[in-house]
């Protein structure tokens, strides 16, 4: 049986532009969760998501029916994220003032809105973030995540357990410090 993602991709491949809305509804949560694990700058997430769906539409012919559609989309998202990060770093290297600006002469504006996501990004390596975010935010099952990332199910389950344990311990420590 075809997944909803594949159905939407095939619809798009057949020239039905409504497939893009279907695809967005089915996959945007996963794309966002995945993007969060790749980037440190949340503000880039919006650009990356937009560019991802544009790229999917433009290269829809290269999607091979029967393969994991979401995995294909996530690969596109990751490539776009890396390109954007690289471009931004290059611009910062060229722009001396911007470099100075970030070098410590500024006060840090704390972000109080996403403490749990911030903590995950701070203490977890990228692969653990991906698994945790896809599970908690994207609401995918471990088996689906294993398919998406091309990892054995055991590895996904194990890494998820490690990630959630680290989070728990840090939050517990933080809570104790607060007291």
């Amino acid at each position: 049986m075809k997944s909803r993602t594949e159905t939407a991709l095939v619809k798009l491949q057949q020239g039905d532009q409504d497939g893009l809305t279907d695809l967005y509804e089915v996959t945007s949560r996963a794309v966002f969760a995945f993007t969060l694990s790749v980037i440190a700058d949340y503000q880039l997430a919006e650009d990356i998501m937009q560019e991802t769906y544009i790229r999917v539409y433009q290269s829809i012919d290269s999607y091979r029916k029967g393969t994991n559609g979401l995995s294909w989309i996530l690969t596109i998202a990751k490539n776009i994220a890396l390109t954007m990060l690289e471009r931004r770093q290059r611009e910062e290297r060229i722009d001396f003032d911007a470099q100075h600006e970030r070098a410590g002469a500024t006060v840090e504006v704390p972000n109080f809105e996403n403490p749990t996501i911030d903590l995950a990004k701070k203490i977890l390596p990228e692969d653990e973030q991906q698994i945790l975010f896809l599970y908690a935010i994207g609401e995918y099952k471990h088996r689906e995540i294993a398919d998406l990332l091309g990892l054995p199910l055991g590895t996904v389950t194990w890494k998820y357990q490690i990630a959630i344990k680290k989070m728990r311990e840090h939050l517990k420590k933080g809570g104790q410090n607060d007291e």
Partner: protein, 309 residues
């Protein structure tokens, strides 16, 4: 916090941050008309929607007015102008509120403008797309020196206003011990509902900040404040290093402003805020000028009297 709580928190936070880019994707691909497909809610065709339109509109309007904290999106671009007016400038006459419109014209008051898109996020103003803030004068640029310009992009406008207020305070542009510090703002948009919501959020957030920091200050909407003119925008990022160090100097000079002395302040502030609110609202007879003299210290560390450049 257990595993389930962690998952719930992650999901909640992500939902707040998650952008909706579908409309802009259709637009960029020049497929905009197709996006209207979404109006066929629950399989009801467009004519069916029309038939029930007025009734549904009424229901939606009733529901919307009764729900707090709706995500703020608008139907039109919005511009905001915001100024930080130190107490000695804002209250130069007998009546602190009447005089803010006529603040000493020789004193430059930090003035910022920025634009907000329909999704409720700030928009880049420069070609390099790394700055969304129009710092209209020198004091504003000094305050902006405390903020990474890239941190002005795609921000919640209320958060940005709060950051600017916080930085203005750190650089000594408010007089913590004086009664009458004002953040005045003006909102321009064709979407009046958005303006109403944004106005409330701005006032509540900035007032709360002042209260928490024990500063006699309020946020006021001032319709006489000139509209922002983005035609005058000039990119000042090439001089950022200068403003960075100037901000740091000012912050060091004014670090001692914040020693929170005065244990009875809590009540004073509440009293002053209340009188200010009454004055700004329907009760125009109430004024805090008489009590202000009683509470003012004779010497004010970090007074904003030095704003003039």
């Amino acid at each position: 916090m257990n595993d389930r709580d962690i998952k719930r928190k992650l999901k909640q936070e992500a939902e707040q941050m998650m952008p909706d880019v579908l409309a802009s994707v259709y637009q960029k691909l020049d497929l905009a008309p197709k996006a209207k497909k979404r109006s066929r809610l629950f399989g009801i065709p467009a004519w069916g929607m029309l038939a029930t339109g007025s009734f549904a509109g009424l229901v939606v309007a009733l529901v919307l007015t009764s729900i707090d904290n709706l995500p703020i999106v608008s139907e039109a671009e919005t511009a905001i102008k915001i100024q930080m007016v130190a107490a000695s400038i804002a209250t130069s006459g007998d009546d602190p509120l009447q005089d803010i419109k006529y603040a000493n014209p020789d004193v430059e008051v930090p003035t910022f403008s920025y634009k907000i898109d329909e999704r409720g996020k700030t928009i880049a103003l420069d070609n390099k797309k790394n700055n969304a803030l129009f710092a209209e004068n020198e004091p504003a640029r000094v305050i902006a020196g405390g903020l990474s310009l890239s941190a002005t992009l795609r921000r919640n406008p209320v958060d940005l206003a709060l950051d600017l207020t916080r930085l203005a305070r750190q650089a000594g542009y408010f007089e913590s011990y004086e009664i009458g510090n004002i953040v005045r703002f003006r909102l321009i948009s064709e979407d009046q509902q958005y303006i109403t919501q944004l106005r409330t959020q701005l006032q509540t957030s900035i007032d709360t900040y002042f209260r928490n920091e024990l500063i006699y200050g309020v946020a006021l909407e001032d319709l006489l404040l000139e509209e922002p003119n983005f035609g005058n925008y000039s990119d000042f990022s090439s001089n950022m290093s200068q403003y960075n160090s100037e901000f740091d100097n000012r912050r060091n000079n004014h670090a001692s402003d914040d020693d929170r002395r005065g244990s009875n302040w809590g009540e004073d502030i509440d009293e002053w805020m209340d009188s200010h609110r009454n004055h700004h609202g329907t009760d125009t007879s109430s004024t805090s000028s008489s009590e202000s003299d009683d509470h003012r210290p004779s010497s004010i560390p970090g007074s904003g009297h030095g704003h003039k450049r």
